[in-house]
């Protein structure tokens, strides 16, 4: 009788790539709920439309590359890219903005390099930066949070997406923007004069950040990634914010808590920089990688021209990942400590 010839190991653990991706998708849910609560249905519509475009783009790319779309679509990686990009985009983005973003992410960011696993840059961030540079107005207009402005309903959200000309949103500068542009008020005064500020950071933003933190912790618990990169990034942001808090003067960059709970801090720490493909690989490497992203995020936020900086910081560190890998190879069993020549 014919016996199967296979090489060891014969047993396999329960984990699969699709499962990893599904876990990530699931972990974004709390954040999406909070965003929807504070900013309306914009994010949900973004995501729904983004997923449709992503599946279409992924199928087309796979078809052009001569790969069976059925097998590769099942890994859900295109959906993850769509989710992450659409969460990062301002709510009530027009359909074409989302389509261009997703297409850039999947074609430029992923398939041009050989598809999943071969992309040196985070695809969602490639899409985001393409949009940010090409359409700065649309990309920096953020809806006013609940309590500050009137929230549009679901129908209006759909209108905003598919018939943008007929939609006029109530917008407000994000707290990070306000903080960056401030040069005359003490932090305390700024807080009192700006309605967008909440308890610790911006209204809505602080809760969205906490929700993404919760989702991230769940992923840590599920052992989808390790704590090293996120913690290093949060720690370096907090450290720099503390160093340059300047007692809350008019030159202050904002408190550590403000920075941790503002903008895309938690979302970036747990959902963007943990993208394994484009990050450093070893434990030490991920610590360095995360910490340097934190430094870049703080620097660009406070000193740069853009209100938030996660996308640029991640892309820049994606460049550096192979370099970090080279110098952070772990000590193998039976090898002398630090005895690595070359």
């Amino acid at each position: 009788m014919a016996l199967l010839r296979l090489s060891s190991p014969h047993a396999h653990g329960p984990m699969s790539t699709a499962r990893v991706m599904q876990n990530v998708l699931l972990a974004t849910v709390p954040g999406i709920i909070v965003l929807t609560h504070f900013f309306g249905f914009g994010t949900l519509v973004n995501i729904a439309w983004g997923c449709v475009v992503a599946v279409a783009c992924e199928s087309l790319a796979l078809k052009l590359r001569g790969r069976p779309p059925g097998f590769y679509l099942r890994d859900c990686s295109a959906l993850v890219t769509a989710f992450l990009l659409c969460i990062a985009l301002p709510p009530y983005s027009p359909w074409w903005l989302i389509a261009i973003g997703i297409a850039s992410a999947l074609f430029l960011g992923k398939h041009f390099y050989g598809g999943l696993g071969y992309n040196p840059f985070n695809p969602a961030m490639v899409g985001y930066v393409v949009l940010l540079i090409s359409f700065p107005v649309q990309m920096t207009t953020w809806a006013a949070p609940r309590g500050v402005g009137e929230l549009p309903g679901l129908l209006e959200a759909l209108q905003a997406c598919f018939n943008p000309a007929s939609f006029d949103a109530v917008t407000a500068a994000t707290p990070l923007d306000v903080m960056r542009q401030n040069n005359s008020l003490l932090v305390e005064d700024l807080w009192q004069r700006t309605p967008q500020f909440g308890r610790w950071a911006g209204i809505g933003w602080e809760w969205a950040n906490l929700a993404f933190l919760a989702g991230g912790c769940w992923l840590l618990y599920r052992r989808i990634f390790t704590w090293h990169a996120p913690l290093a990034m949060l720690a370096s942001i907090a450290l720099l914010a503390a160093l340059f808090y300047d007692g809350g003067s008019s030159a202050s960059g904002g408190s550590p808590l403000f920075h941790l709970l503002s903008g895309a801090t938690m979302f970036g720490a747990f959902f963007i920089i943990t993208d394994p493909v484009s990050s450093a690989v070893s434990v030490r490497g991920r610590l360095v990688y995360g910490a340097l992203i934190g430094v870049l995020v703080y620097t660009i936020r406070v000193r740069g021209n853009y209100p938030d900086a996660v996308a640029f910081a991640v892309l820049i560190m994606n460049f550096a990942a192979p370099f970090i890998d080279h110098y952070t190879q772990p000590r193998t069993y039976g090898h002398a400590r630090g005895g690595k020549e070359d």
């Binding site: 014969h10 990634f225 990050s279 772990p330 193998t332 069993y333």
Partner: protein, 671 residues
């Protein structure tokens, strides 16, 4: 309480051990045919010492070890040798190899044997020899000859002797059941090993998923200084290097031996086998094997004769081939699939796993590596499997070595956790093989280069020496000429004699070699080469290198060359003495040269008058032509009248002479 250390990574696959420990060890019985592969261990295969048709008794040696890293084979039961031929053997490659086939007679008749219960009276060398003669090789999987492992180099001091009862692979319970049923033998065996090695401490390491076995061992060990150490279950804590780290906190240096950190490890099954060999005089002819998996109805442990066809053993456990898809020798993590269920059980067969498709599904196609790093977290030797995979795909061998590919123990933890189902270990195995092949090729090329350069240098040297000799001869000749006054015609005979003498003198002064010397030199150098090759082979065998076979053929070839050289030398010596008897005089070069010169003179003397006349004529004609030319030249350049007249006279005279000579030639021809 002893301090337990942890090692990096590791995984917790489902253990699946309970199925096969519900019943005690069963006797598998005597199959009608036993197939004993000549190589069941690392090192050189054994050499058959029985002939087809010969009757053998149980425990009789049927194959002798070849070299240091080798062990003999014994007949597992009495019967007749029915064949010595290539059969399929349990090996990852699925190839065939020489086996001794015994048709059993069912009488199970023992050869006379006796043990040495009081082993303390034996010296260490005798103990080691007994272990070696009992055919004991590591029974955990690798099959390294135990006697070699227990031969401690003088520069090593052994602090810790570790008996490895970890059995971390899922499904396997062969060691567990031994602990439960044969704790006394294990402890006695450990005491023999302690007597042999004299370590500072003797430990038996067991994972905490075998509470019954640990209890039995502790009971048997009470009153001895052997410590049974329990530690948390985690795969692959049974790996030798991992177990050493768990129990001692030390790491075996990369490429080194456990003895380098003062540790010697022995498998638990081997320990029992050593006990049986020393105390009862029984060679290793049977072992305990776990037969398990959902394709057998009654998973259990068997005491099975080495050489028993797997199918026979499986049937004892209620094998249902239709339910399974593959047959694995060893566990699900590091075991390999066998090509056919008729292959024999060998000394390293600790488990036969016959899983169903649901139990161990055929792996789905691999997806792209997303560098998630789960493999790096699981790796027990702290490698970066995702990077190794990347480099293996690109065949970047330098990078692979820089990322310590050769420290990979192929435990399979990385493949187990890989969400993309990439057969990582397979990539590493292939890359290792490629790199090793490259190293061998490189070594070969380097060797050829050195040989070529040596030859080139030798040729140049010979040329130089020749040149020097030539110069010496020239100088000698000039000296001679000067002494002789530098004038007058030299006697050609005398000159030839001188030349030959000079040549002989140079030869005797050194430099040149006679045929005999050349042959003697060839023999010496062949002998030297054989010695180096043998030393290399022994070294490779000691290290269990897979170069052993190649080196063995090398040694054989060199030996052949040596024999040829010796024969050539003998032949030459024989013919030389014969030649010496034949010739009245020793035929040396000087004599030959004298003879040659004499012959030349005689030849000249013996010219016929006709030929002589012709020769004279020719000479005269030449002189005439010259004179004419001279005359013509003088006329053209307008020389003095006197000179031209003189030249004309010469020409006329020569014309007359030529005329005379022509007549002489005609006369001679007519005569």
């Amino acid at each position: 309480m002893r301090k337990i250390f942890d090692f990096h990574g590791g995984i917790h696959p489902p253990e699946n051990k309970h199925q096969s420990v519900r019943t005690p060890i069963a006797d598998a019985g005597i199959p009608p045919e036993l197939v004993i592969p000549l190589s069941q261990h690392i090192g050189a295969p054994a050499v058959p010492s029985v002939a087809v048709g010969e009757r053998v008794l149980k425990g009789q040696v049927i194959a002798q070890p070849r070299g240091f890293v080798s062990v003999p084979k014994h007949a597992p039961s009495s019967g007749t040798v029915s064949a010595i031929e290539d059969r399929l053997i349990p090996h990852p490659s699925g190839h065939s190899a020489p086996c001794i086939v015994i048709a059993t007679d069912g009488q199970d008749e023992w050869i006379a044997h006796s043990g040495t219960p009081d082993y303390r009276q034996l010296d260490k060398a005798a103990l080691l020899e007994k272990i070696r003669c009992a055919g004991i090789a590591g029974m955990g999987g690798a099959g390294f000859p135990s006697a070699v492992k227990l031969s401690i180099q003088p520069h090593h001091t052994i602090q810790t002797l570790i008996i490895n009862g970890t059995e971390c692979e899922p499904y396997i319970t062969a060691d567990d059941i031994l602990m439960r049923e044969r704790a006394q033998q294990i402890i006695a065996g450990a005491q023999i090993l302690a007597h042999l090695i004299e370590p500072g401490e003797t430990l038996i390491g067991v994972e905490d998923n075998k509470p019954e076995g640990i209890a039995a061992l502790r009971a048997a060990a009470s009153g001895t200084d052997i410590e049974v150490v329990e530690f948390p279950t985690k795969y692959p804590s049974g790996g030798e290097k991992q177990l050493i780290e768990i129990l001692t906190g030390k790491q075996v240096p990369s490429g080194g031996l456990p003895a380098d950190v003062g540790v010697v490890c022995q498998n638990l099954g081997s320990t029992v086998a050593i006990h049986d060999a020393i105390v009862e005089g029984r060679p290793l002819i049977s072992r305990v094997t776990t037969v398990t998996g959902n394709s057998v109805r009654e998973p259990q442990n068997f005491q099975v004769l080495i050489g028993t066809p797997m199918r026979y053993l499986l049937d004892r456990a209620g094998y249902e081939p239709a339910r399974g898809n593959r047959l694995i020798m060893g566990g699900p993590m590091m075991g390999f699939t066998v090509p056919d269920d008729r292959v024999p059980v060998v000394k390293t067969t600790n488990c036969l796993l016959a899983p169903t498709e649901e139990e161990l599904p055929t792996p789905p196609p691999a997806q792209a590596c997303i560098r998630c790093g789960m493999c790096a977290e699981a790796c027990p030797v702290s490698l970066l499997p995702q990077q190794l995979f990347w480099f293996a795909q690109g065949k970047e061998h330098e990078k692979l070595e820089q990322h310590n590919l050769f420290d990979c123990i192929e435990c399979g933890a990385c493949s187990y956790v890989c969400p993309s189902n990439i057969p990582l270990v397979q990539y590493y195995r292939a890359s290792k093989a490629e790199i090793q092949q490259q190293r061998r090729d490189h070594e070969k090329a380097e060797h050829s280069r050195q040989r070529f350069e040596a030859r080139q240098e030798r040729l140049e040297r010979a040329e130089r020496e020749k040149e020097e000799k030539r110069a010496a001869r020239k100088r000698a000749a000039e000296e001679k000429a000067r002494q002789a006054g530098g004038d007058g015609e030299e006697d050609p005979i005398q000159a030839a004699i001188e030349r030959a003498r000079a040549k002989k003198a140079v030869q005797q002064a050194g430099g040149g070699e006679s045929e005999l010397e050349k042959l003697e030199k060839a023999v010496v150098s062949a002998r030297k080469r054989l010695e180096t090759a043998s030393a290399k082979l022994a070294e490779a065998q000691a290290q269990g290198s897979d170069l052993v076979d190649a080196l063995q053929t090398g040694v054989d070839k060199t030996r052949g060359k040596l024999e040829a050289a010796e024969k050539a030398l003998q032949d030459y010596q024989a013919s030389d003495s014969a030649a010496a008897q034949d010739a009245a005089q020793p035929g040396d070069a000087a004599q030959a040269a004298i003879e040659k010169a004499m012959a030349a003179r005689a030849a000249e003397a013996s010219l016929s008058p006709q030929e002589k006349a012709r020769k004279d004529l020719k000479k005269l004609e030449q002189r005439l032509q010259k004179s004419r030319d001279k005359l013509a030249a003088s006329r053209e350049s307008g020389e003095e009248e006197k000179i031209i007249e003189a030249l004309e006279a010469t020409v006329t005279r020569l014309q007359d002479k030529v005329e005379e000579a022509r007549i002489a030639v005609q006369d001679a021809e007519e005569a």
